[in-house]
């Protein structure tokens, strides 16, 4: 596993057994995406041991290429904060993201803008990764783009990669078509 979670982020990081059960739920979401013809990425947003947001990619469904799992889950965190009349930024500051694949450059910037302090992810994202793979948005010096965040990577990485491989194999026009929700 990579990354040292220090400060507030370290305090937020739950024991290994909890990480495993949160990640298991994130993988369930990713599987749901795969079954619906979406890029298999799933995530969970956890605040005080409570799941505030759950997301998986819904790009094809929404015809909006920005509907990544993280963006979907962040919407739910914001909605929850609104209903509880809490400042969303204060909630986000204490929220951990569990996601099967390293957040992309866009999502990493969104997480920064909302002050999410800690991200636990499965495999690297060589195509779009924003936490070190393509760019390092998570820790670069960006004074006008929220706050940097910590990453812990490597949890069930092989499994996350396998799911992505399965998906991209399907995307190949010579391969059988995935089941797309109409």
């Amino acid at each position: 596993m990579r990354g040292q979670a220090g400060g507030a982020a370290g305090f937020l990081q739950p024991p290994d057994s909890d990480v495993q059960s949160w990640m298991a739920k994130a993988f369930d979401m990713a599987r749901d995406a795969l079954e619906n013809g979406e890029v298999p990425v799933g995530c969970l947003m956890v605040y005080n041991d409570e799941i505030l947001g759950k997301g998986r990619n819904e790009v094809n469904e929404s015809r909006n290429a920005t509907r990544h799992a993280e963006m979907v889950a962040l919407d739910q965190v914001l909605e929850w904060s609104r209903l509880k009349q809490l400042d969303p930024k204060e909630v986000c500051k204490l929220t951990v993201l569990y996601v099967t694949v390293e957040p992309c450059i866009m999502c990493a910037a969104a997480l920064r803008l909302l002050h999410i302090p800690l991200v636990v992810y499965g495999c690297k994202n060589d195509r779009f990764g924003g936490c070190g793979s393509v760019l390092d948005i998570s820790s670069d010096d960006l004074p006008h783009t929220g706050a940097s965040f910590k990453c812990i990577s490597g949890h069930r990485a092989e499994e996350a990669i396998e799911m992505l491989k399965t998906f991209y194999k399907q995307e190949n026009p010579n391969a059988p078509k995935p089941k797309v929700r109409k």
């Binding site: 779009f128 960006l142 006008h144």
Partner: protein
């Protein structure tokens, strides 16, 4: 020039007041790196081709295909009109002295040094020039070959677009500025964006910053992308509270009426278009935005396959030129051209609105 443009002299539409400049990759815009090398005069001109052949064998310059091995002295009174690269300084890095003699350089080599004078240090460009300014700077050191991209050259001179094209850009940017002002009147940051179908010239979506109140990630670009999704039977958010945020289905695209475009609506026509590969979200569309997009928005444009982006003012953490150049980031699967400076002054004035 169109009479219409002339009549508007001194207004925001005056296309003489701003330049549309390309935001090139670092490779295209930086100063070319230089390498130290030894050159020597050719004292007997008839030995030139033999010397070039033999030097290429004993000191090949494999990564420097762009370098011309021999140069002519510009100074007509020079005792020897031709000079040749003997080797790179790094080829003979074992030598202690900076003032190596020809014998030092060629000591371990089998070469007939007849016709070569005493060497001297020069600096030669390490990589091929990609733009005319790079070529001109490189040539001051040592001649190189140059495969000119005429479009880039004229873009760098601010001459890629005709004044009527600029007038059209001004119109689109003006729509973005109006949207920014509408948003600002509702307490938002004064940022506006417009997505255009350049085939028809039609505006497909207009959006402004919607952060205050609704959603902290609703930057103008994100709003526009979602409004384009609406034209294709998708979309994720509601914008009823913001009448200036709107979309219109491109005429070329579908005959679907707006009633069918609800989230659960009929996706058939869009599905077909997507399967034909004509229509993946923002493919073929152009974005006009008053301020350089942030990292999130810039990457959202990559994911959406936008074809070109025009912005007015730069921004501090901007991701299309200032802090990053995400539009030409290596490893990413989609790249697009970016131009800045469209209606620069009017766009900069928006930044000052509090």
């Amino acid at each position: 020039m169109e009479p219409d443009t002339k009549r508007r002299k001194g207004t925001e539409y005056d296309t003489d007041l701003w330049d549309v400049l390309p935001v090139l990759s670092d490779e295209q815009s930086r100063d070319t790196k230089l390498l130290d090398a030894y050159a020597a005069p050719i004292t007997e001109k008839r030995e030139t081709s033999r010397l070039v052949k033999e030097l290429a064998v004993v000191y090949p310059l494999p990564d420097l295909q762009h370098i011309k091995r021999v140069r002519a002295r510009k100074d007509k009174n020079a005792p020897h009109p031709l000079e040749v690269i003997v080797c790179l300084a790094s080829d003979v890095s074992g030598l202690e002295s900076q003032r190596s003699t020809l014998a030092d350089l060629l000591s371990s080599k089998t070469i007939d040094s007849r016709g070569l004078g005493e060497p001297f240090l020069v600096q030669i460009p390490a990589s091929p020039p990609l733009t005319r300014p790079q070529f001109e700077r490189a040539s001051k050191h040592w001649p190189t070959s140059f495969h000119e991209d005429k479009q880039v050259t004229s873009a760098l001179r601010g001459q890629l677009f005709s004044s009527s094209e600029k007038a059209k850009m001004g119109e689109y940017m003006n729509a973005a500025i109006q949207a920014a002002r509408s948003g600002h009147a509702l307490g938002m940051d004064a940022v506006g964006a417009v997505i255009v179908d350049p085939q028809s010239g039609q505006i497909v979506a207009v959006g402004h910053d919607c952060r205050q109140g609704t959603h902290p990630l609703h930057h103008a670009v994100m709003v526009c992308i979602d409004l384009v999704a609406y034209t294709q039977g998708g979309g994720a958010y509601e914008y009823e509270k913001y009448p200036a945020c709107r979309y219109s289905v491109p005429e070329s695209q579908v005959t679907t009426s707006h009633d069918d475009l609800s989230k659960e609506g009929n996706h058939c026509s869009s599905d077909k278009a997507m399967e034909n590969g004509q229509l993946y979200i923002c493919t073929g569309y152009e974005l006009y935005v008053t301020r350089e997009p942030c990292v999130m928005c810039a990457m959202a444009l990559v994911h959406s396959r936008i074809s070109r982006v025009f912005y007015g003012a730069a921004s501090t953490d901007g991701a299309l030129g200032t802090k990053y150049k995400i539009h030409c980031q290596k490893d990413l699967n989609h790249h697009f051209d970016v131009y800045k400076g469209v209606m620069l002054q009017a766009c900069e004035e928006l930044l000052d609105l509090k």
